[in-house]
Symmetry: C2
Subunit: 110 residues, 2 copies
Amino acid sequence: MGATKTEHFTDKQNQIAILAKALGHPARIAIIEYLMKVDTCICGDIVDKLPLAQPTVSQHLKELKNAGLIKGSIEGNSICYCIDEKAMKKLQSYFAGIFVNLEKKKSNCC
Amino acid sequence: MGATKTEHFTDKQNQIAILAKALGHPARIAIIEYLMKVDTCICGDIVDKLPLAQPTVSQHLKELKNAGLIKGSIEGNSICYCIDEKAMKKLQSYFAGIFVNLEKKKSNCC
DNA sequence: AATCTTTATCGTAATATTGCAATCTGAAAA
DNA sequence: TTTTCAGATTGCAATATTACGATAAAGATT
């Protein structure tokens, strides 16, 4: 054991979980926030902005990329990373949906 | 190593990461979705709805509770869990903010 | 070509997560 | 009070994550 039993859940549940998991680390939140702030997404100085060693940052970038939250394109010698809007929209609308639902039953217990 | 270096990040970044991490498992997404669907939050049959053993479900509930996403109150013999709107709102507005920001700079690279 | 710069990958150690059987706790029912 | 029932906790095995030094890969610069 130790492995998540993904086969027992719906595709959508797994998809959202993958996205949420990828954001479940402060370094990766920091990366996303940095990518948002920077206009030109000439990245690579991400490493300089984070308090982590270069291989660690590279690994976090890989995880964000695997989850589909960012995409990178080769820019000469270096690499240009930026946020993938589609994935971000998926998360945004998921939570918006939950929130609307909660408002509706503006209830009750606990 | 192996432990997240939370001290290097802002409180807000850590907070969002904690919430996201708690949702980073399909079983916990399924729990949240079930709690949303059920009107009366008389819970406890969550175990029956999930393809996991009772101790495992109990652990997932604990993690959601620790993150602040759900709250539980003792209801006689059993326990009544439900979603904590405040935490959900925090996530919702965070992603909404990101999304607005991305729309604004409807740009450019990658 | 030799070197530099940028990013990825490998290997490894420390720690965390996932999952469950067994067991405990505490309230309700008998 | 004994039994029963709902949940939590413990203990453990399997696996995943986090972090980084060392090194590799590949384009840029000299």
